[in-house]
Symmetry: C2
Subunit: 510 residues, 2 copies
C-alpha cells in the first residue's frame, strides 16, 4: 500500500468503528426513552456484544502496524509523534486514532464487554434504588462496576493517581493534579462569593417557581425556544428521560432529552436549553470530520462549555427573558400573572444551597462537583469503601453546602454516572462552566451588540460565532489548544468568578 | 472438540447472530417511528454495516465445517440430512442453521450490504413518491432494488421459477407452484362468494365509520383491548408508524405499531388487534428457543395466521363486539349514539371491493393478494417492466375487483414491501388467512365455550390454547408439520371459504 492508501485504510476502519458506536448510541437512547422495562437483560447483551465488536476494531493490530508504517511513533509520551508530512485534519486524525488505539489496546476485551453489560444492568438497579431511596439496593452492583473501573485504570496505567487515566478518557491530556489546581482557586472564590450572598439583606422570591405549570405547555414553549436557538428538528428530536442527555446517532441525527415537573418549571426549560447547547455543538461539526473519530467534542469540558454557555450565560440572562418572559407569562397567566420580569429574573437566579446538583444555581453548582470529584478519587484510590459512601457524601454536603440530605435519593443516589461506570466525568462539568465563561468573554467582545440581539430573540450571529470558533473544529484541536486559540490564554478561573460576581452582585446588591 | 462442544459452539455463533439481528431490528423500528428525517443516509450506512456483519457470521466456514463434523449432510435436498442422534429442539436447531448457512452462503456479501442500503433509502423514496402520488418518483429506486432481488434469486438458484427461492425466504419449504394450487381453489371460491354478496338485497350502513373519532380516545381504547388480549406492556410497546408492523428487539422486547385516522376508526383498532396477534406469537415462544434462530415464526404464513385469527376471527366477531361495543359507544357517544350493536357489527364487516389492501374486508382482501402475487412473479421473471407496473396494476384491479385507481397512491404505491426488497412476502398474507381459519376450526372444537368467553372479554383460555398449540413451538416445526400437528390435515382452503360463507351468509342473508 502507498502512504495514501494506508491512510484511506485507517479511515475505513475508523468509519466502521463510528457506525458501530452510533449503533450503540441508538440502543442507549432507546433504553433511556422508550424501551420496555423487562428488556433490560436483552439490551445488556446487545450492548455488550457491540462493545466487544467496537473493541475488536479499534484494537486490531493492523491499526498499529499501519500507523507505524507511515511513521507514527506510538511509544512517544504523552502524545504520539506524527511525521510533519501530515498536517491539519489528517494530523489530528492520526493523533486521535493513535491515542484511541493505545488506550483501548491496553484494556482486555473481557473487561470491556463485562463493563458494558454490568453498566447496562447498573442503570436499572440504580433507578430502582433511587426510587426506593435506598443505597443498599445499589451498593452491590456499584461495587461490581467500580472493581471493573479500577481494572480499567490499572490496565491503562498511571504515574501519579489511579484517577488520571479515567479522567483522560473524558478530558484528554489533562491530569488529576491540573484539575485540583484549577478547582482550588475556584473553591476559594466561590466560598467568598457565597458568603457575600448569604450576608446580603436582599430577599429573592421563588414561590412562583413552584406553582402549576402544565406539561404540554412547557413542552410547546421548550420547542419554540429550541427552534429559535437554531436546533434543527429535521436532524434531531426532543424526548423525555429520567436524566436529560444529548446523544449522537449519526452526523444528521443528534437527539436531546429533557424531563418535566408540573410543579417546578425550571427543570424542563433549563434542561432543554442545556442539552440544546450540546446538540448544537454536535450538529455544527464541520463536513470534513463527519463520520470520523474527530466528530466529537474537543473534550467533555469543552462540550459542557457549550451547554453551560447556552443554559446559563444566555438562558439565565436578563436580555433572554426580556424577550421570552412575555410569551411564558401568556402561556401561564394564572401562575405568572402577578410576577413581573425583574421578580422572575431574580427568582430563576436565586442562590441557595440545595440537594440536587442538576437543579443547583450557578454559584453552588460547582460545590456539588467538588464534592463528587473528591469522593470518586477516594473510591478509585480505595480510600473509601462503597458502604461508607452515603455517610461520606452526607458529611461533605454538610461541609460544602451546609445541608444534610434526608435520604439517599436526595443525596448519593441522585446522579446516573457511577451506575454507568462514568468515573472521571464529573470534573468536566465545572471545567465546562469555566470554559463557558472564558469563551463568552471573547464572544461578547466580538459581538458588542449581543445583549440587544438576545433581547430580540435573535441568536443567529451568536450561533455563527460558536460554529466558526468552536463547533466546526470538533476534536481537531485539544481542549487546551482550542481555549488558547479562541481566548488567547489558558484556562483561567477568573472569568467564571468575575462573571458570577458581577451577575450576583447586581442581583444581591453588593 | 467433542460433539457437545461443537453444538455449543454453533449455538454461540447463532447467539451473536441473533443479537445483531435484534440490533438491526431496533434501528429499523426507530427508522419507522422516531428517526429525524435527515438521518436516512446515516441509518442506511448503519444497517448496511450490520447486514454485512450478520452475513459474515451466518456464512462463516466454521459453521459448515462443524455441521459436517457432527454428521449433518449439507448437500441433501431440499432438507439437510441430520443424524438421528439429534432429536427435538437440537434437531430443529441444526435443520434451521444448515438452511440459513446454505442460503446465505450463496449470496455475496456485496449484494447483502447493497440491498440493505438501497432498501433503507428505498423506503424513504417510496414514502415521498406515495405522498406525491407519483410512481415515476419511485421507479428508479425500485428498479435498483428489483435488480438486486433478482441477483439474490439467481445466486440461490431454482429449478422451476425465479420466484421460488424468494418465497422460500418467507415461507420455508414451499414452492411457487404449491401457492398457485392453493390460490386457484381460493380464487374460485371467493369469486362465487363475492357474486352472492353482490346479488344480495341487504344494504349495510357504513356511514358511521367515517364520523369523528378523536385519536386520544382511540389510543386509550386500543390499549385497553391489547391488555385484555394478553399483550404485556412490560415486554412491549404500542407506537405509531406510517405502516403498522410488529418487530422483535429481544426475547422480552416485542413492539407493535398502528396508525390513527380521526375520520375512519377501523384503521387503528383492527390494525392494533392484528399486530397484537403477531406480538403474542413472538412473546409466546418457549424459553428453550429464546435467543436462538428457532425464536421465529414457523413461517410468515403461520405468523400471519396469528394476526388474522386475532383481527378477524376474534376481533371482527359478533361476541367480541357484544362485549366491547358498549365501551366504544360510551367513548364516542356523539358518533355512535344512534348505532346499535347489530348495525355496528354489519358495518365493520361490510363487503365491498376497495382500493387499499390493509382496509379491505375479509372477502376481497385475498383478491388484493392474488393481484400482488401475480405482478411480482412477473417482475421477477422479467415478464413485466417496472415502467409498465402501474398500468398492469390498474388493469388487474379492474379485472379482480372491478375498480380503477384514481392515482398511484390508491394503487401501486400503497404498500411498503417492494421498497424494502420484500418480494415473495405477499402470498403469506393469504396463507395466513387460510391457516387462521383452519386453526380456529380446531380451537373452537377444543373450547366449546369460546363464544361465551369472548363475549365476556375473557381471552385467557384462548391465549393458552394458542400458546400451547402454536406459540411455544416457534420454528421447531415447519409450517406444514405444525398445520398437520394442530389440525390433523394439510393446509385446506375449505376452512376459510366455509367460515366466510357462514359469516357473510348470515350478514347478507343467503
Amino acid at each position: 500500500m502507498q502512504g495514501n492508501d494506508k491512510l484511506e485504510r485507517l479511515k475505513e476502519i475508523d468509519r466502521e468503528y463510528r457506525l458501530l458506536s452510533h449503533t450503540a448510541a441508538i440502543l442507549h437512547w432507546d433504553q433511556e426513552t422508550y424501551m420496555p422495562e423487562a428488556a433490560v437483560l436483552n439490551r445488556a447483551d446487545q450492548l455488550s456484544l457491540l462493545s466487544g465488536l467496537m473493541h475488536d476494531r479499534i484494537t486490531q493490530p493492523e491499526i498499529g502496524e499501519t500507523l507505524t508504517a507511515i511513521g507514527v511513533s506510538l511509544d512517544a509520551d504523552p502524545t504520539p509523534r506524527i511525521p510533519d508530512t501530515f498536517q491539519g485534519i489528517e494530523r489530528a486524525f492520526l493523533r486521535e486514532l493513535a491515542r484511541q488505539y493505545r488506550r483501548n489496546s491496553k484494556i482486555p476485551r473481557r473487561v470491556v464487554t463485562e463493563l458494558a453489560k454490568q453498566t447496562a444492568i447498573g442503570q436499572r438497579v440504580w433507578a430502582e434504588a433511587r426510587k426506593a431511596a435506598d443505597f443498599s439496593k445499589f451498593s452491590g452492583q456499584l461495587s461490581i462496576i467500580l472493581a471493573l473501573v479500577r481494572d480499567v485504570s490499572s490496565c491503562l496505567g498511571y504515574e501519579d493517581h489511579p484517577y488520571d487515566p479515567l479522567l483522560d478518557e473524558f478530558e484528554p491530556w489533562m491530569k488529576t493534579a491540573d484539575v485540583e489546581e484549577v478547582f482550588s482557586g475556584l473553591r476559594q472564590g466561590l466560598k467568598q462569593l457565597l458568603d457575600k450572598i448569604r450576608g446580603s439583606r436582599k430577599k429573592v422570591d421563588t414561590d412562583f417557581l413552584n406553582r402549576k405549570y402544565g406539561i404540554d405547555k412547557q413542552r410547546t414553549f421548550g420547542i419554540k425556544v429550541l427552534e429559535s436557538l437554531g436546533y434543527d428538528f429535521t436532524r434531531g428530536r426532543l424526548d423525555e428521560s429520567a436524566h436529560p442527555f444529548t446523544t449522537t446517532l449519526g452526523s444528521s441525527d443528534v437527539r436531546i432529552t429533557t424531563r418535566y415537573d408540573s410543579r417546578y418549571f425550571p427543570t424542563a426549560i433549563f434542561g432543554t436549553i442545556h442539552e440544546c447547547g450540546h446538540g448544537l455543538y454536535e450538529l455544527g461539526f464541520g463536513k470534513a470530520v463527519q463520520g470520523t473519530l474527530l466528530a466529537d467534542g474537543a473534550s467533555l469540558g469543552i462540550h459542557e462549555s457549550q451547554s453551560r454557555l447556552m443554559e446559563n450565560l444566555i438562558g439565565r440572562s436578563y436580555p433572554f427573558w426580556s424577550h421570552y418572559y412575555p410569551q411564558l407569562k401568556a402561556l401561564f397567566p394564572e401562575s405568572l400573572g402577578d410576577v413581573d420580569l425583574r421578580r422572575f429574573y431574580e427568582g430563576i437566579n436565586h442562590v441557595s444551597p440545595s440537594f440536587i446538583r442538576v437543579e443547583a444555581d450557578e454559584v453552588t453548582y460547582n460545590l456539588h462537583i467538588l464534592l463528587r470529584f473528591g469522593l470518586e478519587k477516594q473510591l478509585i484510590g480505595e480510600d473509601l469503601a462503597v458502604n461508607d459512601l452515603p455517610a461520606a457524601w452526607n458529611a461533605q454536603m454538610k461541609e460544602l453546602l451546609g445541608l444534610e440530605p434526608r435520604n439517599d435519593t436526595q443525596g448519593v443516589l441522585q446522579d446516573i454516572h457511577w451506575s454507568g461506570g462514568m468515573v472521571g466525568y464529573f470534573p468536566t462539568y465545572s471545567l465546562g462552566n469555566l470554559y463557558a465563561a472564558q469563551f463568552f468573554n471573547t464572544l461578547i467582545r466580538d459581538i458588542p451588540d449581543w445583549r440587544n440581539q438576545i433581547g430580540r430573540g435573535r441568536f443567529q450571529t451568536i450561533l455563527n460565532w460558536l460554529r466558526e470558533n468552536i463547533h466546526k473544529h470538533a476534536r481537531i484541536y485539544s481542549a487546551r489548544e482550542l481555549c488558547a486559540r479562541v481566548t488567547g490564554e489558558p484556562l483561567n478561573p477568573r472569568y467564571l468568578l468575575d462573571y458570577l460576581a458581577e451577575k450576583f452582585g447586581e442581583i444581591y446588591g453588593f
